[in-house]
């Protein structure tokens, strides 16, 4: 990277939390830029606050009182004399009002303009603009449906199954798959109320559902001088409840020709909206490898690291440089894809309890390292994961010369990874990575639900049980010898202590004497 020019920002406000706030903060520090962060009442001890140059409290845990509060964030921008704001993903990242408010306040929003966002942010408006640019679409409405009667008519016309989607949506919120006419009414009501709750906008539109498609997306980058490039695709077919769980790049089914065709469509989509900065064009891909435009995400994606690894670029550095007015430092022909990268989204959720969120105190954290392993994490040992936000803890990314090596490194890293005290989905990734369909790259958006329906064929390990029994006694014996009162396994969260039934804690205590 060229060293910062005179026009480069001196201070960037990061309007986010969790791993993405830390990831942006690191880019700021790499570029010699001061990182200003904001935090809610429950995030004072969060990692992004610990690592920041300046940190400002912005209110209560509820996002509407803090991370979604435009006035408070702009107030901090003014007080901290920040030149620019990086919104991360989620929260205000795709909020055109916020982008406009930043522009009005004279602080640079690191992302597209409000106008480009408005064209794209509402999926239905995006659709109208794209149809003109000759972008391939799944059949459906290009506007939100006004009434149940209209929904009935549209669904009958495109044919069941249909998908209901929130116009302002993302991340699976406000989405419903409808198999038959009799399910439509309740699904429409549910999608509307979820859309209203999640985005403050109940507009819902209808598309023909492509059953078990692949979900493949194209990263684009556009500077403010009319240059737009694509940086290759990401395969994001592994989803649960429409939330991505594992992503990889490149897609195992996309060859150079398909990549070029998808990339060129993605660039056309971006250019049709005068798009600037980083963005992602999502496609559904059917079994014949036909691809259909799904939506454009006008932000940095959670899964951006896999593209960074195979393209050898730092997308956050580039976002910042583009926002500062620099030209893209390379042309389309300079972009080279090398190797293979896979990302696992490590969530605080309980696999034995239908993947319910599992917030709480992290009593032990052992993170993997070594060749080809990257961790973008927002957690640390001793920190309590709050109940108030998305359960993403960290992203574990494996890189290798090819897909096989990336899987091998990731498998090895997952075996090193340990998060104690809360439930996580780490074991799910071990299972995915050893699945024969996954290894054969037979992926679609129904993959994970099918995998989870099958019983896990894990051989009982009697030796491990014997080792566990010996260790249980030794923990008790060593704990009582070294600490007097009990082994460290007893240091659960206060809530856990409270819950612990009397007879158990009593017997444990006595066992440790």
């Amino acid at each position: 990277m060229a060293h910062a020019r005179k026009a480069m920002f001196k201070r960037i406000l990061i309007a986010n939390r969790g791993e993405i706030a830390v990831r942006v903060l690191r880019a700021c520090h790499e570029m010699g830029i001061a990182a200003v962060v904001v935090y809610s009442d429950v995030d004072r001890a969060a990692l992004h606050v610990r690592k920041a140059d300046e940190a400002y409290p912005i209110g209560a845990a509820a996002a509407s009182e803090s991370y979604l509060n435009i006035r408070k964030i702009l107030d901090v921008a003014e007080r901290s004399v920040a030149d620019a704001i990086h919104p991360g993903y989620g929260f205000l990242s795709e909020n055109a009002k916020f982008a406009q408010a930043c522009a009005d306040a004279g602080v640079k929003f690191i992302g597209p303009t409000a106008a480009a966002m408005e064209a794209m942010g509402s999926k239905t408006r995006a659709r109208q603009a794209m149809e003109k640019a000759g972008v391939p679409f799944v059949p459906g409405t290009s506007r939100g449906v006004e009434s149940f009667e209209e929904a009935e008519q549209v669904a009958a016309k495109v044919g069941y199954p249909v998908m209901l989607k929130a116009a302002a949506g993302g991340g699976g919120k406000g989405m419903r798959l409808v198999h038959a006419p009799e399910e439509l009414k309740s699904a429409l009501e549910a999608a509307r109320s979820e859309a209203e709750r999640s985005f403050g906008d109940s507009e819902v539109y209808i598309e023909k559902a492509i059953v078990n498609p692949r979900h493949i997306e194209m990263q684009v980058l556009a500077d403010e001088h009319g240059n737009t490039v694509y940086l290759g695709e990401r395969e994001c077919s592994l989803q649960r409840r429409h939330q991505k769980v594992l992503e990889e790049a490149p897609s195992p089914i996309v060859d150079a020709d398909m990549r070029r065709r998808m990339g060129e469509v993605a660039v056309r989509v971006a250019q049709a909206a005068n798009y600037t900065n980083a963005g992602t064009v999502e496609f559904l891909v059917d079994h014949e490898k036909n691809f259909y435009f799904l939506e454009m995400n006008t932000r940095l994606q959670v899964e951006h690291p896999v593209t960074e690894l195979i393209a050898g670029l730092d997308l956050v550095h580039l976002q910042i440089r583009i926002a500062a007015g620099e030209k893209l430092p390379f042309k389309q022909n300079d972009v080279r894809i090398r190797g293979h990268a896979i990302e696992c989204r490590i969530y605080a959720e309980d696999p034995d309890n239908n993947y319910f969120p599992s917030p709480g105190k992290i009593t032990l954290l052992q993170e993997p390292a070594g060749p080809g392993i990257r961790i973008d994490s927002g957690i640390y040992e001793g920190w309590t994961v709050p109940v108030d936000y998305d359960p993403l803890l960290a992203k574990l990314i494996g890189y290798g010369t090819d897909r096989e090596q990336a899987i091998a490194r990731l498998t090895r890293a997952l075996n090193e990874y340990f998060v104690g005290g809360i439930e996580t989905n780490i074991a799910l990734f071990r299972r995915i990575l050893r699945d024969s369909d996954f290894r054969d790259a037979m992926l679609d958006t129904g993959f994970l639900e099918r995998l989870l329906k099958r019983p896990e064929d894990k051989p009982a390990d009697s030796r491990a049980a014997v080792v566990g029994a010996i260790a249980a006694g030794l923990f008790a014996a060593l704990g009582s010898a070294e600490q007097g009162t009990g082994n460290s396994a007893g240091s659960g969260s206060p809530a856990a202590e409270k819950l612990s039934s009397n007879w158990k804690s009593a017997s444990r205590h006595e066992a440790l004497r």
């Binding site: 009593t363 998305d390 249980a472 396994a489 240091s491």
Partner: protein
């Protein structure tokens, strides 16, 4: 030292004796020589013969877990000489408490007092970390009591309703 240990539902009796930093273990009559180092709190490095293991300990809610490699075991350790190390009887009969599995907010109650519920039937919807989760009844029965109202904040383990 003598321990009664239950691992994933199976009972073991373990006798431990320490001499010169080495542990002689007798597990249900089988003898093992063990070299144990507590690498840090909650992390035990074991050599059983020359085989090396790392075992991690954690508490989740009211359960003690040990991890041997990537295999997790639910563990209970009791001192057999203690009278209090006995399981309480009767946990499986009578009224079932429907508890919140995680902290969150009750967004909807799906039943009223006096309603009949089937096994797996929804009782309440709890929202946590932006996800809505239906809390289900483990058995058939009548909703005897509802202890929370819509909009209430709940902690993990809080009783939402009682089904009998």
């Amino acid at each position: 030292m003598l321990y009664d240990i239950t691992i994933n539902g199976r009972n073991y009796r373990l006798e431990l004796n320490c001499a010169d930093g080495r542990w002689s273990c007798c597990l249900d009559g089988r003898d093992f020589e063990v070299d144990a180092v507590l690498a840090r709190p909650d992390v035990l490095s074991l050599r059983i013969g020359n085989l090396a293991y790392e075992v991690k300990s954690e508490r989740v809610a009211n359960d003690l877990h040990l991890w041997v490699g990537s295999t997790r075991f639910a563990v209970e350790v009791r001192d057999p000489r203690s009278l209090r190390g006995r399981t309480r009887a009767g946990d499986h009969q009578g009224p079932s408490k429907i508890v919140a599995p995680m902290p969150g907010k009750v967004v909807r109650l799906l039943v009223s007092e006096g309603d009949e519920v089937e096994p797996g039937g929804g009782v309440a919807v709890v929202e946590a970390m932006k996800m809505q989760n239906e809390i289900k009844s483990p058995k058939r029965g009548t909703v005897q009591k509802i202890l929370v109202s819509e909009g209430a904040a709940v902690n993990a383990g809080d009783v939402l309703a009682i089904v009998e």
